[in-house]
């Protein structure tokens, strides 16, 4: 009896211990976010103090050396590049995962998966380099100048594709076999099964994949900097060059001092605000059901 109660006791304390240490670990993750936000605010504070947040959206242009700080065109640039690439990469990525699981012969599925894993690890500078010497001249032939929103969207699509494809792939792997057997027993053809049975079952995984790929699309810097042209303007066609908020930081941080430097940290803050807005709206759209 004693041993049993001892057992129970120790069992509960192990669980408690585990739970609390896990909570401690999770707090670290949360703390990093807080630290980064605080860091950005502290660095941006000087310019916010004597320029004010409003002027970052109402100034006539972005010429920080001459005291003009308009970020709006870059905000649009980031949004356009992100939307375009997510719209292309999401279906491609999900179809890729579907291909691996339900269409490809097993001889093809494994190498295909390995191929996507590799795509995830190619450095952004290699994508950028390739974009600069291969893709941009191609686009320049169609419609000069070449570096453009289109080039940015295409490069970003390739870069974020592995994230959604691998997340979708892992989710599909977890669809219970009973579902598929049930569908097969009902005589449902392949695509009908996937659409009617598989997709609803993997909603949560797909949703997480989209969130992560969107994050990556917003945060990508080096490749975008090389192929987008970096002209601060609101594009009127997809052949117009754009500058994203991230490229703005990377491009100018190296030589910026004083208010200019602080203004670049404001770019970072605006970017962060954008991500927060996205995450909150995603939460609102899903209303918690995705994790059910």
């Amino acid at each position: 009896m004693t041993s049993l109660s001892n057992n129970t006791l120790s069992r509960w304390s192990t669980d408690e211990l585990l739970c609390w240490s896990l909570r401690g670990i999770a707090t670290i993750a949360g703390t990093i976010v807080m630290l980064i936000v605080v860091f950005l605010i502290v660095e941006a504070l000087p310019v916010l103090h004597h320029v004010g947040l409003l002027r970052f959206f109402t100034d006539p242009s972005w010429h920080p050396a001459e005291g003009l700080y308009n970020l709006t065109p870059m905000l649009w640039g980031t949004l356009f590049a992100m939307t375009g690439s997510v719209l292309i990469a999401t279906p491609l990525g999900i179809l890729s995962a579907v291909f691996c699981h339900y269409y490809a012969p097993s001889v093809l599925a494994r190498p295909y998966r390995r191929l996507i894993e590799l795509l995830a690890g190619v450095p952004s500078v290699v994508y950028g380099f390739w974009g600069l010497v291969v893709l941009v001249p191609l686009i320049a032939e169609i419609q000069p100048p070449g570096p453009s929103l289109l080039a940015g969207i295409l490069i970003l699509t390739i870069m974020i594709l592995p994230t959604i494809a691998l997340m979708a792939d892992a989710s599909l792997a977890n669809v219970p076999q009973q579902y598929l057997r049930g569908a097969a027993a009902l005589g449902l053809p392949r695509w009908a099964t996937i659409r009617g049975v598989v997709f609803p079952a993997v909603r949560s995984g797909l949703f997480t994949g989209v969130i992560l790929e969107t994050g990556r699309a917003i945060g990508e810097t080096m490749a975008i900097l090389m192929v987008c042209g970096n002209v601060v303007q609101i594009p009127s066609t997809i052949f117009d060059p754009i500058r994203t908020l991230t490229a703005n930081i990377a491009l100018e941080m190296a030589y910026a001092i004083g208010d200019h430097r602080a203004a670049l940290f404001v770019s970072g803050l605006v970017l962060l605000a954008m991500i927060v807005a996205l995450v909150v709206s995603a939460e609102w759209v899903s209303r918690g059901r995705m994790y059910g």
């Binding site: 941009v136 000069p144 100048p145 042209g229 060059p241 990377a250 100018e252 190296a254 030589y255």
Partner: protein, 285 residues
């Protein structure tokens, strides 16, 4: 923590200096340091343009003084200035002329770098006057046929705000950056060269040494002469080429000990071959 680190480093420098002073009876120039006496670690941060050059100089310096470690970091001229001011780095690298608000730092020039205008090799335009370059960059001339080329729209490649090549370019042509009508804005030199090489109707400006090298390697670009002077490292060296920038290394306090030894070495003739090897122009001949 960082304070302790710094103190340690300062401490070792002071010890070193004292030793040197005792050893050489009051003379603390680099030449009097013997290989056994110089030791420690130098942290150098700053301009990415200068980083490969200073890293190579550092390697040769290390080979002369085996107990010395020279750590070169990049991140841009402004980072170099900031790190030196905070004492996070011993020496900063600045790839431009020093600004008025940087008078508190001690600057030492190690090399020069010319800035030249480049076109795609297939562009039939052979020369542009200063006025034409200004008109192209301010959007008054938008087609190559107006300057004797083909009928094609001009793609203007400009540098990002704050870059020193942009500053010297604007200064020479007396243009305000707000007036520049750019189609592409780039960061590093190589990006500029690849952009122009990939677009037959582009015009850009980059570091002459880099362009000269790439041209000789078959990259389809060509350097234009400015104000009638051919753009080459040779004309930059003899001072006839009008657009160039100095490359500096800076310290917060007057350099002593290891720092001084390194700066003296970087300014000496012994490194001129390295400077040329990295496609820059040595200061004196």
């Amino acid at each position: 923590m960082s304070c302790v680190f710094r103190l340690n480093r300062c401490g070792s420098l002071v010890t070193l200096l004292t030793l040197a002073l005792l050893g050489t009876l009051g003379s603390a120039t680099a030449q009097t340091f013997s290989a056994e006496q110089l030791s420690g670690k130098l942290v150098i941060t700053g301009a990415s343009t200068l980083a490969p050059l200073i890293a190579e100089i550092g390697k040769r310096f290390e080979s002369h003084y085996p107990k010395v470690r020279v750590d070169v970091q990049t991140g841009g001229s402004s980072r170099g200035v900031a790190d030196v001011r905070q004492g996070f780095a011993d020496i900063g690298m600045v790839s431009r002329a020093m600004k008025a608000e940087e008078k508190d730092l001690h600057a030492f020039s190690v090399a020069r770098d010319g800035v030249g205008v480049i076109l795609h090799k297939e562009n039939p335009v052979q020369a542009l006057t200063d006025e034409q370059v200004v008109a192209i960059y301010t959007g008054k001339i938008i087609n190559w046929k107006d300057v004797g080329g083909k009928d094609a729209p001009i793609t203007v490649v400009n540098k990002a705000e704050g870059r020193s090549t942009l500053e010297v370019f604007l200064h020479y042509f007396k243009i305000r950056n707000t007036d520049v009508k750019a189609h592409v804005v780039i960061g590093d030199n190589e990006q500029g060269i690849k952009t122009v090489a990939g677009n037959r109707h582009a015009i850009g400006y980059v570091s002459i040494g880099t362009a000269e090298y790439d041209e000789s390697q078959g990259v389809p670009i060509k350097l234009l002469s400015v104000g009638g002077v051919a753009a080459s490292t040779e004309t930059v060296r003899n001072g006839t080429f009008p657009i160039s920038r100095p490359l500096h290394i800076v310290t917060r306090t007057p350099p002593v000990g290891l720092t001084k030894a390194f700066i003296d070495y970087a300014q000496s003739k012994a490194v001129h071959d390295i400077i040329k090897q990295q496609y820059f122009v040595p200061m004196v001949d």
